[in-house]
């Protein structure tokens, strides 16, 4: 069956692609995230009661636990993507790993920031060499290294291989850093209160905690989708740039050249 002619007689429009990295999926996730964030603020800052031990500062745990959890999830995603890239060698895994690593670094920065602010209120100082914060600092530096390697201009496959290796090497170190720092700093301080979902939390405190945590994870997925698509676009833009350059070269070659190859 032939397509009926367009009423105005014009040719049908060319298929157009999306104008941004959004999609139905991200809009749904985004809406859910916004709802979750609003509820988290309400529960975290207002509805939930102050803690028996921590007082009002428990409200900072509601930001700290989600950021650190997301950071760890992000680095696991990077690790899995790194391994998959070395196995399958497809662009998908490279872009996924790099996107996740960047998000992980952002969330680790937030983790340390929140930890420092919590420390200021509780200990009076912005930093103490307690296990959680110390480990975070080491992990942050390792993954900044990943981003530094990513930033080095190189052939796509070379860069992807390098990053995949850093991703794997770094993730293997995570439990070892934890153990070393815990043994070391655990000698000097008791069990850290910072950043644990204390089973003694009750009622609305638990609600606030799990709500923030779930919201954080939704935000992570939303960010990952967008960031992955951006990374994909960067590669396609680079391809387009390369093709333009090649096309220009071919056009130049079309004109007779003075040099003759031997």
């Amino acid at each position: 069956m032939s397509t009926p002619p367009n009423r105005s007689g014009h040719a049908p429009p060319v298929a157009s692609g999306p104008e941004s990295t959004s999609s139905t999926g991200t809009r749904v996730l985004g809406a859910a995230a916004l709802v979750g964030l609003a509820l988290s603020v309400v529960y975290g800052l207002f509805v939930s009661p102050p803690d028996a031990q921590l007082g009002e500062t428990i409200r900072m745990i509601y930001t700290h636990v989600p950021t650190v959890s997301v950071a760890y999830v992000a680095f696991v995603v990077t690790a899995v993507s790194s391994a998959m890239y070395l196995w399958k060698r497809t662009e998908f895994w490279d872009l996924l790993g790099a996107s996740s690593a960047e998000i992980g670094v952002v969330f680790f920065v937030l983790t340390i920031l929140n930890g420092a602010l919590w420390g200021k209120t509780t200990w009076g100082v912005f930093w103490r060499w307690e296990p959680r914060l110390t480990t975070s600092a080491v992990l942050l530096l390792m993954y900044i290294g990943y981003l530094a390697v990513r930033a080095v201009p190189a052939d796509t496959r070379v860069r992807a291989t390098r990053c995949a290796i850093v991703g794997l090497v770094a993730v293997v170190n995570i439990p070892i850093v934890h153990k070393a720092v815990d043994w070391w700093r655990g000698l000097h301080q008791g069990r850290t209160v910072l950043g644990t979902i204390d089973p003694e939390m009750g009622g609305n405190q638990l609600v606030a905690m799990y709500l923030s945590l779930a919201t954080g994870l939704v935000v992570f997925v939303w960010m990952l989708l967008h960031r992955f698509r951006v990374a994909y676009l960067v590669e396609r833009a680079a391809d387009a740039g390369l093709e333009e350059a090649l096309a220009e070269r071919r056009a130049e070659r079309g004109t007779p050249s003075v040099e003759v190859a031997p």
Binding site: G17, G44, L110, N114, T121, L233
Partner: protein, 44 residues
């Protein structure tokens, strides 16, 4: 700064940095989408 001040700062900073990062991704996505031919913009 009081405890309340630090709590507020913690939440505000988290939202500001997280939100700023999110915004930067989305804006970058829009800018790049314009630079790439329509049929090649999405992985799937």
């Amino acid at each position: 700064m009081s405890t309340t001040g630090y709590i507020v700062l913690s939440w505000v900073a988290t939202f500001a940095i997280g939100g700023g990062y999110a915004l930067s991704i989305v804006l970058r996505g829009r800018k790049l989408s314009r630079a790439v031919p329509p049929e090649r913009r999405r992985w799937m």
